[in-house]
Symmetry: D2
Subunit: 148 residues, 4 copies
């Protein structure tokens, strides 16, 4: 489904906003792809990101899912807008057992006030990608309001 | 609703497990209350935990909600058991604008295979507690399986 | 938490709207309580409402939860407004085994654009009420728009 | 993703179970496709299925989503098994404005104890299909237990 691009500088907007999230920097998340209605991030394993069985913590996976959902919606809003998560729902499918996490967010419906996004998280082990969580994310769009 | 306590050492079990989650230590989360079917954690503000508007990141709030849901369920399982999050759903109610987060998880239904928990997150600003998110968390219980 | 009442005729508004939902009439749902930020409905058992084990169908329980969430939010909006469900999440806690369902919706946060509600469904068996499902419901408020 | 078929009579099993749900018959839902890990149902418009604006009621849409999620999981379980919905989360994307609803459920992860399914509902207007809701559904599998 081709999306209408309202901000020609959406890539710069997303990159600028993304790295102003100190929590993403604390975890070490990298923004790896930005397309209209789509965002991908990656995160290498480190012990600091684990739960008690030394897998990626569910909270890390949830944070990535929430983030890629929000930024996927943000690719489609006009200049001088910002977004906020309203809610998300995350189902864990497989343990976060691997050397890297990849999360991909995609807009399902870009509404005026609200956007609904799907977000999937994958764990990479020995180079093989396996889905570890899937989420639905509701995002509210705010206009005439800076993201800064 | 009074719960049946199957592990007399549930407090030690929770404390031991909680601090083996490196991700909780990275964020600086403290376990502040453990009761049958109930767990509370607290987390002081630091820049490392913020999103682009310098509020607590939604991913931090979600991680706390997921965690207190899981540990609330874990207070009620027998020795030699462990728990895993199946899924959670989180609604954001107010921005995470304050000096501290408190999250409280509570078991709604303690089933044999699955437990359903409610988790609420509060942000404390100038000493006043305000709800910032509410979640429902589904937890799977595993028996004859170590948490280590 | 006391709510601000913006429509003094909120009870009439809810009753009028509720019974214009043909699907509620098909199932036989009765609106039994309307308070600021709170709505209760009841539904007597009949075979037509069952799943394959002859319990109340999960879809019936979900429909009641969605409905009481929406109407709880609608009690708090001004005249010339209407509401729409954005999303809901429902956890089943016990089978719908009984002679009656009761669902109660309650506003957790009454926002300008969105309201977040909690909805619980109870099954009554031999006169005893038991929770069978709990839900979180997100409702969008529309102003200067008729509910008709 | 090809699924392992554990019950060669899965189609008959699903059809038999589906039409024993009196609530589906009350609404008039037809089971239109059954594949391994996939189920589709259809429902023609009638006034009895509407909310106050005469669109398909959200509760109807939710009931279909829940149902196709559960039956998609049920296609993959062995003989002498049954399934139960644990929880579902549904996001409404467009109003249920049309002459027919179609809901399609698909297994994302077929686990031993739990299966996670995605369910999408479409409204058909003037012959054109448009997505109206998307859901994630968690299903519990029970073995050595009859569906009757």
């Amino acid at each position: 489904m081709p999306f209408d691009i309202k901000d020609p500088n959406y890539k710069e907007k997303i990159e600028d906003s993304f790295y102003r999230q100190d929590f993403m920097n604390l975890m070490g998340v990298k923004l790896t792809r930005v397309e209209p209605g789509f965002v991908e991030v990656q995160l290498d394993y480190k012990d600091d990101l684990t739960q008690q069985h030394k897998y990626f913590h569910g909270g890390v996976i949830g944070a990535l899912a929430d983030t890629v959902g929000g930024y996927a919606a943000f690719t489609l809003t006009p200049p001088d807008s910002t977004v906020l998560s309203v809610e998300y729902k995350l189902s864990f499918l497989n343990p976060g057992d691997g050397e890297k996490l990849i999360a991909r967010g995609e807009v399902i419906k870009a509404g005026k006030k609200l956007s609904t996004c799907s977000a999937n998280a994958y764990v990479v082990k020995d180079g093989l990608e396996k889905i570890c969580a899937t989420a639905l994310v509701t995002i509210m769009n705010f206009y005439n309001k800076s993201d800064h």
